[in-house]
């Protein structure tokens, strides 16, 4: 193994290279483009034996990835934000084809207003598509996550496409030390892609994804996809164990940090969770029993494990880096739903933070812990809170004053 400094984007490209992918349909978008640039450079220099094709859109790109997987080749692709949304029709469609491939999504907030910086609303839009979702917090997890994702996606009991998600900027352009798996060990771990009955061949035409009317057949296929994702839960542990044996890094489907005796728990997805690790350490040093729970596997959603891990805790702060308009944080809804009706469930508080790459400061984690303690003492969760300061609103007011100056003048006249 070689430990070297690589960006999150480069780690994703390394994952694809080490998985021995055959085909890469591509379309550029910030902050993802470095991934396909790295792969293209390796293919150009003859360091990687694969074919990279630039398509005219993400819609075609995802179609191409699904089709290629149907014909028996290992496919890889990557996108972000608006690109993922542009390809969304095909995200749902190829998942229904039950063709395994891996798509890396570099999370970036959605328009409008448009931004380049990260949050999770893009990946949440693919939540119900039938893709497996693995969320990464470090560059190491990205390189390893791609290998795990191929194993999981191609497993005969699962066989659905998978998304590996990483945060734009915070991981995509950030170099960290990464242990790159030995190439032959990685290939042996991922194995050969056995497409089973997905062998589309020119000389033996097949048809799939036909129209079904009447609801009965439709329900059958849709529910089967749901059951396949549930299978992925059990299969994931097996694969993660095997990975740990070979590479020495264990990736539980839920990453727990100092949870053993934690009374107050932060729940987060992705790279912002490492900030919470620091906060947990500081809070513990100050005498607060806090911990961090981070689902690595978001689809399928490890409900039973979450229930088990959170039972008996005093209070939980779910910090969502996304917002479902008219409802609130998506992760918060999922956690309250997982915990509802279980005895001894903790209070669950909702925080929205980190939208459009907005920082979450250590002071904010401390203040959240403080609110959790208060909630526990009062026996009720506080109302949902957007992490937003007076200073931020003042800055916003300045921008509005500039934007509306003329408007006010017209109205005045």
């Amino acid at each position: 193994m070689t430990r070297k400094l690589v960006t999150g984007n480069s780690a994703a490209a390394w994952g694809a290279r080490l998985a021995g992918v055959d085909y890469i349909p591509a379309f550029p978008i910030t902050p993802q483009t470095e991934i396909i640039e790295d792969l293209a450079a390796w293919i150009d220099r003859g360091e990687m034996d694969a074919r990279l094709v630039t398509l005219e859109s993400e819609h075609s790109m995802i179609t191409a990835a699904g089709s290629a997987a149907s014909s028996g080749v290992r496919a890889f692709t990557a996108t972000s934000s608006q690109g993922l949304l542009y390809g969304m029709e095909m995200i749902y469609t190829v998942a229904g084809w039950r063709t395994p491939f891996v798509l890396v999504n570099v999370s970036r907030g959605l328009a409008s207003p448009i931004t380049l910086e990260s949050d999770h609303n893009d990946i949440m839009a693919a939540r119900d598509s039938g893709f497996v979702q693995i969320h990464c917090a470090t560059c190491q997890e990205i390189a390893d996550g791609v290998l795990l994702a191929y194993r999981l996606a191609e497993h005969p009991q699962v066989r659905v496409p998978a998304i590996v998600n990483l945060d734009g900027f915070y991981l995509s352009f950030t170099r960290e030390p990464v242990d790159l798996a030995d190439a032959s060990k990685a290939r042996a771990f991922v194995g050969e892609y056995d497409p089973e009955n997905l062998q589309f061949r020119g000389n033996s035409p097949l048809s799939q994804a036909m129209a079904v009317l009447g609801g009965g057949p439709y329900s059958y296929f849709r529910y089967q996809a749901h059951l396949a994702l549930q299978q992925a839960l059990a299969v994931y542990d097996e694969i993660a164990d095997e990975f740990a044996e070979i590479f020495g890094r264990r990736y539980q489907m839920i990453d727990c940090y100092r949870m053993e005796d934690a009374e107050y728990v932060f729940v987060m997805l992705g790279s912002f969770s490492t900030k919470a690790r620091d906060a947990v350490d500081s809070l513990r040093a100050a005498g607060w029993k806090t911990g961090l729970l981070r689902p690595r596997l978001f689809r399928p959603f490890p409900q039973a494990q979450i229930r088990q891990l959170l039972q008996g805790r005093r209070a939980v702060a779910v910090i969502d880096q996304n917002i479902s308009m008219g409802m609130g944080g998506v992760l918060h809804s999922e956690f309250t739903s997982a915990l509802y009706g279980t005895g001894d469930a903790p209070l669950v508080a909702s925080y929205i933070g980190g939208l459009g790459g907005r920082n979450i400061s250590q002071q904010e984690f401390f203040a959240i812990a403080n609110e959790l303690e208060q909630a526990y003492e009062e026996g009720a969760a506080p109302p949902p809170r957007l992490l937003y300061t007076e200073e931020e609103l003042t800055e916003m007011r300045k921008l509005q004053a500039i934007a509306q100056a003329e408007h006010a003048q017209i109205h005045h006249n």
Binding site: L5, T7, T30, P31, S112, P113, L116, F169, Y170, F173, T174, R175, E176, P177, S271, F272, T274, K275, R277, D278, A279, D281, S282, L283, A285, A286, W288, G357, N359, S361, Q362, Q363, E364, F366, A367, A369, N370, R385, L386, L387, Y388, T389, E390, E391, L393, Q400, I402, A403, Q404, A405, E406, H407, A408, I410
Partner: protein, 311 residues
């Protein structure tokens, strides 16, 4: 943890500087995080990059808010709010400025309690976006000031990060770095590492509950026209196009039409005028003008001359 921020202009190699320093820390056995900050970056625009280094895994992420060391490759950025050079700088910060002016002058000008050191500026160059080897100079200077990276490790990191460049270019960068190590021998280890925020004693964030506001206020429409005029993109310019009106044949349309930013207006007299508040210095007009009536001059020198005239 060491927290270092490099500030420069697009083209000066601040991302490379952060990578050289990051790799050097890594070779010295540190855990490292380095990243450039991208935005509306381009040649000449203010950019920054940062490095964190520690003996344990680094959980802190994103922009460094309270740097231990700020390295400024281009002193014209210091007074520019958009560049954010002095953001989060306090009495524990060391500020290293590549400048012809003295530390005392900067301390007075910035009215700061931060310690200021001068990285003696080399001779002025025509195009500041091409300050030669400034990335390697800044990386080497940061390495000296942190005090835990040997010259040989810095050179090894430099070789790694510049491996794609021709040998003679790498050699000049190496020589530059060696010079810095020699000239700054008295300044080894001046950077003090900042600590971690503690939960015992912290300022509670001034959270507010965002009030509902009607769509008239909260929609995204910009009512005031030409608000982008307030963004003075002329600050990005390192080279300035200057019209020689003796040569201009008053064609009235070529330079103004080709200008990608619409910063050249033609007056009633049929002669063009350049809006220097917004001209980014791309020099397309210089290339297009048929009678070669537009020349490019160094922005830095032009400003110095203007200052002389003014005083």
């Amino acid at each position: 943890m060491f927290r270092i921020r490099f500030h420069g202009r697009g083209g000066q190699g601040m991302k490379t500087a952060s990578r050289i320093l990051g790799s050097a820390f890594f070779l010295a056995g540190y855990e490292v995080q380095d990243a450039p900050r991208y935005g509306a970056e381009r040649r000449g625009a203010p950019i920054f990059a940062y490095v964190r280094a520690d003996h344990c895994a680094i959980n802190e992420r994103g922009i460094i808010r309270h740097p231990d060391l700020v390295v400024v490759a281009d002193d014209t950025l210091v007074g520019m709010p958009a560049a954010g050079v002095t953001e989060g700088v306090n009495e524990n910060t060391l500020l290293l400025i590549n400048s012809h002016e003295s530390a005392r002058t900067w301390a007075r000008r910035l009215n700061t309690r931060a310690r200021i050191l001068i990285l003696t500026a080399m001779d002025e160059v025509e195009d500041r976006a091409e300050l030669p080897y400034i990335g390697s100079r800044c990386a080497a200077a940061a390495a000296v000031l942190c005090g835990v990276i040997s010259r040989d490790l810095l050179l090894a990191a430099l070789n790694e990060e510049l491996a794609h460049l021709p040998d003679e270019v790498v050699k000049k960068n190496r020589d530059t770095a060696v010079d810095v190590f020699e000239n700054m021998a008295g300044e080894v280890g001046l950077v003090s590492q900042g600590g971690q925020q503690t939960a015992n004693d912290y300022v509670r964030p001034a959270w507010i509950t965002l009030p509902f506001e009607s769509a008239e206020i909260s929609n995204l429409a910009v009512h005031a026209g030409a608000t982008s005029v307030l963004v003075r993109t002329g600050l990005w310019r390192t080279m300035r196009p200057v019209i020689d009106y003796d040569k201009c044949n008053g064609c009235w349309w070529i330079c103004s039409t080709y200008c990608p930013d619409g910063t050249i207006d033609v007056g009633a007299d049929g002669f063009p005028q350049i809006d220097y508040q917004h001209c980014k210095g791309c020099l397309v007009c210089v290339a297009q003008c048929p009678p070669h009536a537009i020349a490019s001059i160094s922005e830095q020198l032009a400003r110095e001359q203007e200052n002389e005239v003014a005083s």
